[in-house]
Symmetry: C2
Subunit: 213 residues, 2 copies
DNA sequence: TCATGTTGGAGAGTGCGGCTATCCAATGAT
DNA sequence: ATCATTGGATAGCCGCACTCTCCAACATGA
């Protein structure tokens, strides 16, 4: 199919597709002649993933490119490739080293990881962007006076651990291949809004149960 | 304290504070004279909350104003006020009614709610923005061919239900008052990045456990 | 064959959101 | 008396995600 057809199938305007091509989010089509290129199903699938990452996952275009580059990197094994892709996913703001709360937040997080027994993450420490963004979130809560106690955090973390176990089970149930890494990325990024929606719905339901309308 | 002092205490530039005042995110200070106003602790606390909502919670300024207006609305009872505030929080993109996947996504979500026994949410249906954004997320996953089975969804939802129960427990443990509604908003919005960070850390930990480095 | 429309490519332009800079008259500090 | 500071208003800036315009090379129907 040519550009116009790709646009029709995906519901993305040709101008935007050209933009994605320029930005390297989408591989160029196979050149048929000096001024024409042919696209196939793989382009359509990739285009839909790009849209999902950007619109649902709210990734900046530059970040999406980075993530997709890791997904496509055939030189790496499945696990590493997945790790690399997830590593480059966006994280909240970085901790503000100048703020006095950051130190106590870091301490709190370390204490939490210790309780949880998450030795691998603990070892990575500040190298892990996820760890840093967790510290930043904690610091903000402390600064606002909404610091949550460690019991609550531990319980929530245990629940998220169970969520993660099911995530990985699901990934394993898919056949290996390029699509599996895509699947994994989709699972991490696209399930986030889904999980948050479920949390809010559960809050509404529970709130109604406790306090009525 | 005056504007410059408020700026120093909060780490927010005076220009930005003026901007928030203009946008109605922050109540004007008490007028001391024709050209001066006095701010107090409550302004500082509110300013920090505003920053948190915008920077950590990534709320657009207009949405933050709406949420804060509900928080401040003294004419409503605690539960309603909280509900109204949460209702105006941002949600993912709206479902695309033209797309054929939306219908099956809605069906899937309804089946899920039925299994979960979330009657209150089920009754609200499409009126609830959270419900609509859940449908939109599901539709995207279906369209990408990453539809997840209902067993997996049910399990994840049950876990989020436990998260929500602990959220409400925590809110109850705070003393009632204006701060409690702020607390609730903060809990919903600011704990979201925290929970997602915990999920990713748990995924890293579990992934290392299963596949090694 | 030739008129008409389509294609891929490239650069400039657009709209929006969140600030930021400039200016001003009134004021407060010394 | 002087001079920086204040609150307030307006206009400008920046980054980002597109979107528009133009162009020469092609494809295609009459």
């Amino acid at each position: 199919m040519r550009l116009a057809e790709l646009s029709k199938q995906s519901g993305v305007s040709t101008a935007t597709i050209k933009y994605y091509l320029r930005e390297g989010l989408l591989a160029p089509g196979e050149r048929i002649s000096a001024t024409q290129a042919e696209y196939d199903e793989s382009h359509l699938r990739r285009l839909r993933l790009v849209r999902a990452l950007i619109q649902v996952g709210r990734l900046p275009v530059a970040t999406a490119r980075e993530v997709l580059a890791h997904v496509d990197d055939e030189s790496l094994g499945r696990t590493i490739r997945l790790g690399a892709a997830l590593w480059s996913l966006p994280h909240g703001p970085e901790p503000d080293e100048d703020a006095p709360e950051t130190e106590s937040a870091r301490h709190e997080v370390d204490r939490l990881l210790d309780r949880l027994g998450w030795a691998f993450v603990q070892e990575l420490g500040s190298l892990d962007p996820t760890y840093r963004s967790l510290v930043a979130s904690m610091a903000t809560l402390i600064r606002l006076g909404y610091a949550c106690d460690i019991e609550y955090l531990t319980e929530q973390a245990r629940l998220m651990e169970q969520v993660a176990v099911r995530d990985l089970d699901m990934m394993e149930s898919y056949p290996a291949g390029a699509e599996q890494v895509e699947m994994a990325v989709a699972s991490v990024v696209l399930h986030e809004p889904l999980l948050l929606s479920l949390r809010r719905l559960a809050q509404e339901e529970e709130s109604n149960r406790r306090y009525g309308l």
